[in-house]
Amino acid sequence: MNIKHGLLALTLLAATAAGGNAVAQPIKVGELNSYKLFPAFLEPYKKGWQLALEEINAGGGINGRKLEVVSRDDGGNPGAAVRVAEELIARDKVSMLMGEFASHIGLAVSNLAKQRKMVFVAAEPLTDKLVWEDGNRYTFRLRPSTYMQVAMLVPEAVKLHKKRWAIVYPNYEYGQSAAASFKKLMAAAQPGIEIVAEQAPPLGKIDAGAVVQALSDAKPDAIFSSLFAADLQKFVREGNIRGLFKGRAVFNLLGGEPEYLEPLRDETPEGWWVTGYPWRQIKTPEHEKFLAAYEKRWRDHPRLGSVVGYATMYSVANALKKAGSTDSNALIAALEGLEMQTPFGPIVYRAVDHQSTMGAYVGQLAKKSGEGVMVNWHFADGASYLPSPAEAKLLRRQ
C-alpha cells in the first residue's frame, strides 16, 4: 500500500468513525435461483441483473451507498431454497430477496419471506397464486403471470372464430392453469366453443408422436398449447412431419421467447400465435439502450431472461432509493405503486396485488433464413390484462 492509499483509507476510516457510517456500508440484496435446473433461461437472466447492477453502481449506487448482490443457487428444490434464503437473511444480513424461476420454489420462498418479514421481489415464477390466492404483504412479482399471458393471446384466438379446439399442456401447475384460464376466457368471449381433445404430457417427457396423433384424430380447427423447452421442440418436429399443423391455427404460450424459439431453427412452425420477445425488432429508445448496453457487455444478444433479470434488479434498486431505508415496511410502501422504466416500457407495481404491469409481445412465428422470428407482433401492456383492483382484492386471501 503506498502512502496515498494509506491516507485515503485513514480519511475513510475517520469519516466512518465520525458517523458517516451510512455512506460507506453497501446495501446487500440476496438473490437466489435454480441456476442448474433451468440454465437456458437463467444464464441470460444472471447476465441481465449483473449488467443492471453495474449500471446502478456506476451511477452512484443507492443514495450514495453501493449496491451489493449476494447470489446463490437455490439447490433446485423448495426445501433447499428456503434454507438458502434463510442463510441470506441470517448470515449475509441482506435487506431484500429477489429471484426465483419455478412456481413451487417461488411460493416456498415467498412463504418464508412473509414469516421472516423480508421483502421478496419474485422475478419469474408465473403461477397466479403468488400474487392472488397465496399472495402476501412481502411478495411482489415482476413478470406477467400465466393468466395475463393467456389473456393476451385470447383476443387473437377469438378473432379466428374457430369452434373445435384441442389443448395440450405440460402436466403441472403452470400448464394446468394456462389450460383452465384459456377455457374460461374463451368460453366467455366466444360462447359455444368445444374442447375436442386435451392432452397433458408429463413435463419434459412428452411422447410427442402419440400426442400429435391423438390431437390429429380429434380433428380440431385450432390448437392451444403451453408447451415449452424440449417438449415444445419434440411436439413441433413430430407435428411438422405428421402434418398436424396444416390448415390449423396454433397458439403457444411462451413460444416466441428466444430461449425456446431459437433451438427450433428451420423447424419453426410458421403462422403460430405466441407470446415472446422479438429482440431484434423492438425500436423503442428504452429497449435500444438496453440492447446496446447488453451486447456491449456480454457480446451476445439478450434473451427474455436477460430482460427479466435486468428489470428485477432495477425494481429492487428503485424501491431502495424510493424507500430511503432498508426497513421492510418502508420498502413495501415504496414498492406499492412504484412506477419505473424497463426495456419493455414503463411499469407500475400495483398496490392491490403487488403484481407489476409489465407486458409481453404477442405475434406470429415465421422463418427467416433458417431462424425463427416473430412477425406481425404488437406489445400487450400488462395493465390491460389484469383484473381490476377490486377483483384482485377478492382474489387475495387476506
Binding site: K36, P39, E43, R72, D73, G75, N77, P78, G79, A80, V82, R83, E86, E87, A90, R91, H104, L107, A108, S110, N111, L112, Q115, T127, K129, N171, Y172, E173, Q176, E198, Q199, A200, P201, P202, G204, K205, D207, A208, G209, A210, V211, Q213, A214, S216, D217, A218, A229, A230, Q233, K234, R237, E238, I241, R242, G243, E262, P263, L264, R265, E267
Partner: protein, 627 residues
Amino acid sequence: MTASAILIQFLNGLSGASSLFLVAAGLSIVFGVTRIVNFAHGSFFMLGLYVAYSLIDRFGHGAAGFWGGVALAAVAVALLGALVEVLLLRRIYAAPELLQLLATFALVLVIQDFTLWAWGPEDLLGPRAPGLSGAVNIAGHQFPQYDLFLIVLGPTVLLALNFLLKRTRWGTLVRAATEDREMAGALGVNQKWLFTTVFALGALLAGAGGAFQIPREPASLYLDLSVIADAFVVVVVGGLGSIPGAFLAALLIAEIKAFCIGIGDVTIADSVISLPKFTLVVEFVVMAVVLVLRPWGLLGRRLTPPRRVGAVERPLALPSRRAVYALAACGAALALLPTLATGYSLILLTDIFVFALFAVSLHFIMGPGGMPSFGHAAYFGLGAYGAGLLLHRGGLPMELALLLGPLVAGVGALAFGWFCVRLSGVYFAMLTLAFAQITWSIAFQWDSMTGGSNGVIGVWPAPWLASRTSYYFLALVTSAGGITLLWRMFYSPFGYALRAGRDSPLRADAIGIDVRRQQWAAFVIAGLFAGVAGALYVFSKGSISPDSLAVPRSIDGLVMVLLGGVQTLTGPVWGAALFTWLQDAAARNVEYWRAVIGLVIIALVLAFPQGLAGFLRDRFAGERHAP
C-alpha cells in the same frame, strides 16, 4: 378410436419401445453381469446425444455426416465407459455392495456439470435423418419414416445381442459370469477384461440409444435423470440380465403409454378419468404390478445370491463405553451451541438433524435388515404431507400435527412393506421405488388435497417453537431421541433376529424366526421414523411440495448412508452431516458445485470404501474387534 388410429398408435408404441429398449439393453447387460447399479447410464445416453449433435454439426447434415456422427458418438461413449470401468469401478468391486451406486451417482453429477460447461445451457435440436426425413402414408395418416426405421432397429439390436451372447465365446463367458462369477473366475476367465468389455458395450448401447434419438428429441440437460429411471424399470420388469425380457418390458410399457394417450379421457360413472395424465406414472405402476405378480420380472429367473466378493461383514459390535460417552458429549455440545452461535449455523444444523434421522431410519432396513430401499423418500414425504395437511386442512394444532403426521408414513409403510418384503435385493429396491413414485404422483396430481405440483404453503410451527433457536432444540431432541431409539433396537432381540434373517434366512427360519414378519416390522419402523424426519422438515420449511418424496430425496438418503458406511452404527449420521454441509458449502462457493460434490464423493469412495465411520472403526478399533 377408429381402426386406423389404433394402428397408428400401435406403431407409435413400437417405435417408442425400440427407443426404450436401446437404452435399457445396455443397462441390462451391465446389471446382469457386474451387478453394478449404474446410475450413470442415463448420463451416457445424454452424452451420446450431445456428442452426436456436435459431430453431425461438424460433418454436415448429409447421409455420411449423419450416420457417421451417430456411429462415432456411440464409440466415443463406449470408450468413456471403458475408461470409467478401469479407473473407477474396478477399484471398488471388493467394497460393500451398492458402493458402485454411490460412485456412479457421483459420475452423474460430474457429467451433468461437464455437459453444461461444454455445450452451454440451451437445448440443441439436431437435424432430421437424411433420407428418412419425411412421412409415409399409412391408412390415411402421415407416419414418420424414421419411426419405421426405429421399429426395425430395436428387434435387430435384440437379435444381434442374442447372437453375441449365445453364439460367441465372449457371450458364453459373459453368461457364465452372470450365473456364477466366482466359478467363472476359478476356471481361469479373465474377469477384469471381461468386465471392462461388458461395461464398454453397455456404454456403447447407451450412447447409441442417445445418438439415434437425434431426429426425435433435442439434446437437453435433463435427459440423464429422465432416462435412467425408465431404463431401470425396463430392465427390472423384463427380469435382470434377460435381454428378450427387456424388449418385452419396453414393448409393454411403450404400448400402454401410446394407448393411454390415444384413448384420451374416459367417462366412468359420470367422472372423467384422464388417461393421458396417467402417463406420469404408468411405468412404475406396471413395475409394481409385475413385481407383485412375478417377483423376478417377466422373463427373469431367481437370482443365485452372489457369493461374497468383498470382505465379510463383521457383526455389528456394541459400541464401546468410550464411544457412547463420546456420542453423549457430542449431543451435549450441540445442546449448548445456541449459547454461542445464532443464525445460520442453527438453520443448517436443523437440516442436518432432520436428514440424520432420515438416513438412520433408512440404514435401519439397509444395514441390519439387508433391504436397500430406493424409495425411502416416500415415507419422509408422507410424514411431511401428513403433518402439513393435518395442520392446514385438518385444523389440528401444530404440536398434534407433528405427532400424528408420522403415523401416515407408518400406515404407508405398513401397506407397501407387505408387498416389498416378499422380494429381495434389487427387486426389493425397485418395488420400493415403484411405490415411492406412485405416492409421488398422487401428491402431484391430487390438487384439491395436496396442492398439486405447487404443494401447500403456510405450515409454520406454533409461536413458541417459531424462533430458530427453539426449533433447533425441537429438532435436536426429536432427532437424537429417534436415533437413540433406532440404535437401541439394533441391539434388542428384534435387531438380532433381523440380522439373523439378513445373514441366513434359512437358519433364522429353522430356529423359529418368522423372517418376513421381522422384515415387515422393520420396514414399518423405518417408515415411521422417516415420517418423523419428514414432519420435522415440513415445519422447519413452512411449506411442502412433491419434491420431498421424489426420487432425488431417496437417492440423497442412500448417498448419506453409503458415505457414512452401511455396516457401521453411526456412519449414516456422519454421512448426513457431511453431505448436507457439502451441498451447502459447495453451492455457496463454486459455480459448478454439482461437479465438486461429485468429485469429492469419488475421492471419498476411493479412499474410504467402507464409509467414513467404517474407516475410523478400522483405523482405530480394528484390533479389538478382529475375529
